[in-house]
Amino acid sequence: MNHNTKIPQPDDFLELLKRDKIVSDHILNNSRSMISVITRDYIYEKVNATFCVAHLGMPESIIGKSLGDIWGYEIFRDKIKHNLDKCFSGETVKYVEAFSTPQSGKRFYEVIFRPFPAVSGEITHLLAETFDVTDLKLTEQIAAEKEDEFKRFETNLPIGFLRCLPDGRILLANKAIMIILDCRGQISLCGTNLRKYYTEESLFDLHVSQLMDGKPKSFGRVPLKTCRENEIVCRISAFMFLDQSDKPSYIDFSFEDSSREMMLENKLLQAQKLETIGALAGGIAHDFNNILTTISGYAELLKDDLPDPLQSSQKIARILMAVSKARSLTNQILTFSRQMEQEKVTVSVSKVLKETLGFLKDSVPPDVIIKRNIWSGKIKVFADPTQLFRVFLNLMTNALQSMEETGGNLSVELKQVNGKNLKDILDKDILADEYALVTFRDTGKGMDPSVLRRIFEPFYTTREVGKGTGLGLSVVHGIVSEMGGDILVSSEKNKGSVFYVYLPVTLEDRTAISDLQVTKKKILFVIGNRHEAGILSLALESSGYIIATASDRKTLVREMSDGEDLPDLILYMSDAEQIKTNDLIEVIAETNIEIPVIAISDTGQELIEEKSLPSGLIKQHLIKPVSLKEIRNAIQLSLI
């Protein structure tokens, strides 16, 4: 027998059990959770002290009562019963719900029901534990709200946020930066390197080195390239986080796209520049016209002074011709600076466009294809048709020239667009209701951005010195602006250029202001190029003249011998192939009627013949390009 071994007595067991119960009760009652044992009839069989405190009662006042009694029958039915039933079917149930207790009012609880099987294994009871999770819940809710708020803030702002390592590897990026960098379609920027979005990669290193002091920095107008290799400009703010040992840890960046702002600024600057040059050039042109008046005046006086007037008249005529040429130049400058008098009529854009295309037909290089897409509806604008002709002619000639060597396509398109849709395109305070949009798209040489910026400046030319005045596009710009329209251009080197001409559409049929004549005058038009004459006819008909044309001598003679309906005036285009100046003089001499003639020529050179100018037959002499105003003035002066 081992004396060391003490056989436990029944009293000891009891003692042990008692102690065990004290310990369990102690744990149970000191727990901060509400703990209870619930029977299958939803009756409390046992509750701990925390439960009693929460309900301001004693165990005796709770035990034996149903859950409905304690929590309220509605709450029991809606929030508790189904969970209890689930647990009685053998499952541990866990859920969070808000309940009210007499002690604390409404709180959030995490509830756990555990099946509490009897010895038989049948679930007769369950153990309920309820933890107060209100603080946790509130914290979570606040956090979620904050996160939500920040998300909204961050995604709705057009500011790109981005976090990267000092070597440029991107850790985090928001939606806005994806939009700014045009990375639609890409899921995330993470893992790519910020450096490669810098147009100048070395600039990134410079920025990083400037951030090393851990202070926030701003970098204005940093050139970047997008995922699609387009160039944009951003305002960047950045801040580098340093770790405890002052080593660079990561950098936070914010990006604001300032491309549009810059674009508008540039546009304004360009407009101001053109305005200034215009005012300057207009002033010079005005002074020049005074000087030219003096030159031509004295030249005319000289004619009478010279001993041999017939011999000298040729030379004097050449001086006057040069004056006319110079005058044509000053007129172009005045057109650019919008100081030129313009006579406008209501005119169909498609008519002018078609005549221009016809005029150009013979000068189209063989390997250039012209595609037309001209809206057949009537689009009318208020313009000088001869000026509009110059605009179209100039743009198309440039396009054709840019494809001279390579060949290609020129597409000419006319359509009508609603002014409301042009708010962001046209930089205008007041927009017309409708615009005629004429688009000229070529596949020629294209232009550098540096050239593109300056093409509307007068005297700016990419041609060799001496070839062309460089006035063409500036005049085009002047004419279109004067009409209340706008001209936009986009171009890519070696790909081609696109010119968009917007002209405000007019609804009313207006004729020229000075058009007050009652009896309609008949003009006989002796024409060379059918299409160019077409433009002038269009212009004069809209001004109220009756036009007859003659392109050969036979027609000319017929028109001149119609006693009933003789022309009041002859408009002679000097490039008329079948009717030379001599023919005209002869025919007029034959018919023996005094009829004023206005000659229009390219340089005037071919008209300096003894017979024509000094004979007094040709009353006025205009040099191309002529405006409707000039022709009308000439006609009015000749008809007096």
Binding site: G282, H286, D287, F288, N289, N290, T293, T294, E300, E341
Partner: protein
Amino acid sequence: MPCILIVEDEKDVREMLRISLARKRYTILEAENGKDAITHFKPAVTDLVITDLIMPEEDGLKVIMKFREIKPSVKIIAISGGGKAGPGSYLNMAKALGADAIYSKPFSLSDLMVKIDELLNIEQS
């Protein structure tokens, strides 16, 4: 002989006009700006006025308005080297204000002379 007033701020142009008109034996008066012209205007003797439009002091449009008011029968020819006054051009406005003829610079001197004769002849007949 009819008397012509030349209103022109540009000395060269004014002299050129004076010489050419003197050849035709017209009596010539000169003014170098609009204000000068208006102050020294002699309605009793002046038959025709040639006036530039853009000038310092008073411009040509003012000259036309004033002269038309003082002497409605005086003939007026306006000349201009370009420029715009608001929506209309100066020359158009000159015409609207009652100029009998308008010429943009540079113009044909012989055309101008023919016109002057014509305007004065009509006056004389």
